[in-house]
C-alpha cells in the first residue's frame, strides 16, 4: 500500500468525477447568480446541463472496473439504512444471535413495502464516523451471520420471503471472529440458505466482498447494481498476493471480472440493475426506486413457485455455476 497522498476533496480513485463536479459546481453558481440578479442565464444553464448530462453518460459508460469499485465504495452511496428509510412503510429491527451478541454490521428486521411483507437482512456500514466504527465498516463477525440465520429461520416459519442487501468489504478478519468460528458461521449460512422454504432475493448494493457477502447471498434471484461489484477477493488483496504489489489493484480489478456485466456474462447473477445517470450517489431516490421495483417484480414472480420447485431451482442455479470441461 502506498503512503497516504495529500488530501484533496476528491480521492484519486475518483479522479474521473472531477470534471463532472466542476461542471455541477458551475451550474450551481450560475443558478444562484441568476436568482440573485436579473441576468438572463437560462440558456447558458440549459446548455451546461446538457453538456453535464452528456459528459456524465460518457464518463460513466467508460468506467474501468477499478473505478467502479470506487463508485461502489463512494461515501455518499445509498446504504442499507437509506433503503430502509426510503423504501419501506414499516420496519421493525430484530437484534441479536441469541448466543453471543448483536453484530451491528448486519441489520435484520421485519419489513413492509406496499403489499409486500418480508424479512430484510442487510450489511450495515454506518453513516457517521461513530456509526461506521460500531458497524466495523460493514465487516460482520460470526454473530452477525448467526443473527441473520436465526432471523431467516423465523421468516421461514412466518412464511415471509427474505430480501438481503449485500454491501461489505468482507467478513471481519480478527481474533474474536476466528475464535467464534467465522468460517463455520459463513459456511452454515450458505448451506442453510439452500434449505429455507421461502423465496430469497439478494441485491448487491455496493461491495460484494467474498465469503462475507455470500454468507447472506444464496437466493433465488441475485441482482447487482450497475456500479456495485462482487468478488472472490478485494482487488487490493489480489494485487498484494498475485502481483506482490498492492498498487496493482486496478489491474487486479480488471482481471477479477467483478462488475455486474461480467458476472452476468459468467452466469453468476440474474440481473444488473441500472443506476441513475452518474451513479447511485447522485440520486439515492432514483436508485432506491429501481431496486424497489426489482424486488417487487421478483417477489411477485417467486411467490407463484411451489416450495419444492423453489428449492430445487435454487440448487440447480448454484450447481450450474462454473462448469468444468468434460462435465
Amino acid at each position: 500500500m502506498s503512503e497516504a497522498a495529500p488530501r484533496s476533496p476528491v480521492p484519486d480513485a475518483l479522479a474521473f468525477e472531477r470534471p463532472l463536479l466542476e461542471l455541477e459546481q458551475k451550474i450551481k453558481e450560475l443558478r444562484s447568480l441568476a436568482s440573485g440578479t436579473h441576468l438572463e442565464l437560462a440558456e447558458e444553464i440549459t446548455s451546461l446541463e446538457d453538456r453535464l448530462r452528456r459528459q456524465t453518460a460518457e464518463v460513466y459508460s467508460q468506467l474501468s472496473p477499478w473505478e467502479r469499485v470506487n463508485v461502489a465504495r463512494h461515501a455518499e452511496r445509498p446504504l442499507t439504512s437509506d433503503y430502509v428509510q426510503m423504501m419501506l412503510d414499516d420496519f421493525v429491527e430484530l437484534h441479536g444471535d441469541r448466543v453471543f451478541g448483536d453484530d451491528r454490521a448486519i441489520l435484520t428486521g421485519l419489513a413492509t413495502m406496499g403489499s409486500q411483507r418480508f424479512l430484510l437482512v442487510g450489511h450495515r456500514k454506518g453513516k457517521t464516523v461513530k456509526d461506521r466504527l460500531a458497524c466495523n465498516f460493514g465487516c460482520a463477525h460470526p454473530e452477525g451471520y448467526r443473527k441473520a440465520l436465526q432471523k431467516m429461520r423465523l421468516a421461514e416459519k412466518l412464511k415471509l420471503p427474505i430480501v438481503t442487501f449485500i454491501n461489505t468489504p468482507g467478513a471481519y478478519p480478527g481474533i474474536g471472529a476466528e475464535e467464534r468460528g467465522q468460517a463455520a458461521a459463513i459456511a452454515r449460512n450458505i448451506m442453510e440458505m439452500f434449505e429455507i422454504k421461502v423465496p430469497i432475493v439478494c441485491i448487491v448494493i455496493g461491495e460484494g466482498g467474498s465469503g462475507g457477502a455470500l454468507g447472506i447471498g444464496v437466493g433465488d434471484r441475485i441482482g447487482v447494481l450497475e456500479n456495485a461489484y462482487y468478488s472472490v477477493i478485494s482487488p487490493e488483496g489480489c494485487a498484494a498476493i498475485l502481483w506482490k504489489n498492492g498498487d496493482k489493484a486496478p489491474e487486479a480489478a480488471e482481471a477479477l471480472k467483478l462488475t455486474g456485466k461480467d458476472l452476468l456474462r459468467l452466469g453468476l447473477i440474474d440481473k444488473v440493475i441500472d443506476e441513475p445517470l452518474g451513479g447511485a450517489h447522485r440520486d439515492a431516490r432514483g436508485t432506491v426506486d429501481r431496486v424497489k421495483a426489482q424486488i417487487v417484480e421478483w417477489l411477485t414472480e417467486l411467490g407463484q413457485v411451489p416450495v419444492e420447485q423453489l428449492l430445487e431451482q435454487r440448487y440447480v442455479k448454484f450447481r450450474g455455476m462454473g462448469v468444468p470441461l468434460g462435465a
Binding site: 478478519p173 463455520a184 455470500l214 498476493i241
Partner: protein, 310 residues
C-alpha cells in the same frame, strides 16, 4: 479468502535430509516418508500430497477414482504474470493431476465410503470450478448410494484466477452437502495443514464430524491479514487445531498415524458396524528397520542452486 503462499518453501528437494519446518531438526528422508511426513522429534505434521493421503487412508487397491475427466477452464482470461491457462498446463504437467482434488470410492478397513482429498501441490489446493464440481458430485454420489463421505481439506482458499466463479463454488459445495444431509448421509471433514479461506468457510465446516490433524492452521482469514488489520501480534497457537478444539470449533484432533483407524471407527458408527472391531489396528506390513546416519549440522545447498533462506 484466497489462496496465498503457504508451503512454497516446503517443496522438498531430493536430498537425504529434510529440515523440520517446526522444530528445525534434521529428518532422515526415508524415515520421514515412512512416518508419512510427520516429524519424529516434534510430531509436526507436514502437508501430505493427495495421492499419498489416499494410499495412507484407503485399503490397498480399493480406491477407484471418479470424475477424472473434469478439467478447469480459464473463464476469465486471467493473467497476472503468467496467463492462467498456461499456469494450469504447467501445474498439470508438474503434478500429473488435473486439478486440486482427487475423488472416488474406496473401502477403509473393509467399510465402503466416498473419499475426496485435496491436493495442496496443485496451486495451493485452491478451490476453483473443478474442486467445487468434484465435491458436489462426491456428495451427490454419496447421497444416492448411501455411502458415507470423507473429505480431506488442505487449501489456501478460493482460486483467485477463477474470480467470482471460484467464490460460487462455496455455494455449490454447501448446496450439495445440504442435499446429502437431507438424504440422511453421513459426512466427515478432516482439516489438514493448512485449511483456510473459502474452503474452511464452505464444505469443510458443514460436515457431520469435524476432525483435524494436530497443529494444522485452520481459519477463515489468513494470520497475516488479521495481524495487519488489528495491528497486534497474534496469540501463540492462534488458528491451530488445538486452539480450535479449545474454542469448541471441532470434534477431535487425530494423529496422522491413527487417522485410518479413527476413520474406520467413525464409519462403523455411521453405518451400523462394530466400532471396536473397526478401530483395532490392522496387522501392519512390517517395515525393514531404517538405519539413520548421524544428521548433518545444516543441510548443504546443492551446487548451482541458491540457498533458500527462511
Amino acid at each position: 479468502m484466497a489462496w496465498t503462499r503457504f508451503g512454497k518453501k516446503k517443496d522438498m528437494p531430493g536430498g537425504l535430509w529434510i529440515k523440520c519446518e517446526s522444530c528445525g531438526g534434521m529428518l532422515f528422508r526415508k524415515e520421514f516418508e515412512q512416518k508419512h511426513r510427520v516429524c519424529g522429534s516434534c510430531g509436526y505434521h507436514f502437508t501430505l500430497p493427495g495421492r499419498e493421503r489416499i494410499a495412507l487412508t484407503a485399503d490397498p487397491g480399493s480406491f477407484e477414482e471418479m470424475f477424472q475427466p473434469l478439467m478447469p477452464v480459464d473463464r476469465l482470461g486471467f493473467n497476472d504474470k503468467v496467463p492462467y491457462d498456461q499456469k494450469l498446463k504447467l501445474t498439470q504437467e508438474k503434478t500429473g493431476e488435473t486439478d486440486a482434488l482427487i475423488a472416488g470410492t474406496a473401502t477403509i478397513k473393509g467399510i465402503p465410503c466416498m473419499l475426496a482429498v485435496m491436493n495442496f501441490q496443485f496451486l495451493g489446493g485452491s478451490m476453483g470450478m473443478v474442486v467445487g464440481e468434484k465435491v458436489a458430485r462426491a456428495a451427490e454420489h454419496a447421497a444416492a448410494r448411501k455411502l458415507p463421505l470423507i473429505l480431506f481439506a488442505c487449501s489456501g482458499g478460493a482460486r483467485m484466477h477463477e474470480g467470482a466463479v471460484s467464490l460460487m463454488q462455496m455455494a455449490k459445495t454447501c448446496g450439495a452437502l445440504a442435499l446429502m444431509h437431507r438424504a440422511g448421509g453421513f459426512s466427515i471433514s478432516v482439516m489438514t495443514h493448512p485449511t483456510t479461506g473459502g474452503v474452511t468457510a464452505s464444505f469443510a465446516s458443514v460436515c457431520d464430524l469435524l476432525l483435524a490433524e494436530p497443529g494444522a492452521l485452520i481459519g477463515f482469514a489468513g494470520p497475516r491479514v488479521i495481524a495487519t488489520t488489528i495491528k497486534k501480534e497474534l496469540p501463540k497457537g492462534f488458528q491451530r487445531s488445538e486452539f480450535l478444539l479449545e474454542k469448541g470449533q471441532i470434534d477431535r484432533i487425530v494423529q496422522r498415524a491413527q487417522m485410518r483407524d479413527e476413520l474406520a471407527r467413525f464409519l462403523a458408527y455411521g453405518t451400523g458396524r462394530d466400532p471396536v472391531a473397526a478401530f483395532k489396528p490392522a496387522p501392519q506390513a512390517t517395515h525393514e528397520p531404517i538405519e539413520v546416519p548421524p544428521a548433518p549440522v545444516e543441510e548443504k545447498p546443492k551446487r548451482g542452486k541458491k540457498s533458500k533462506k527462511e
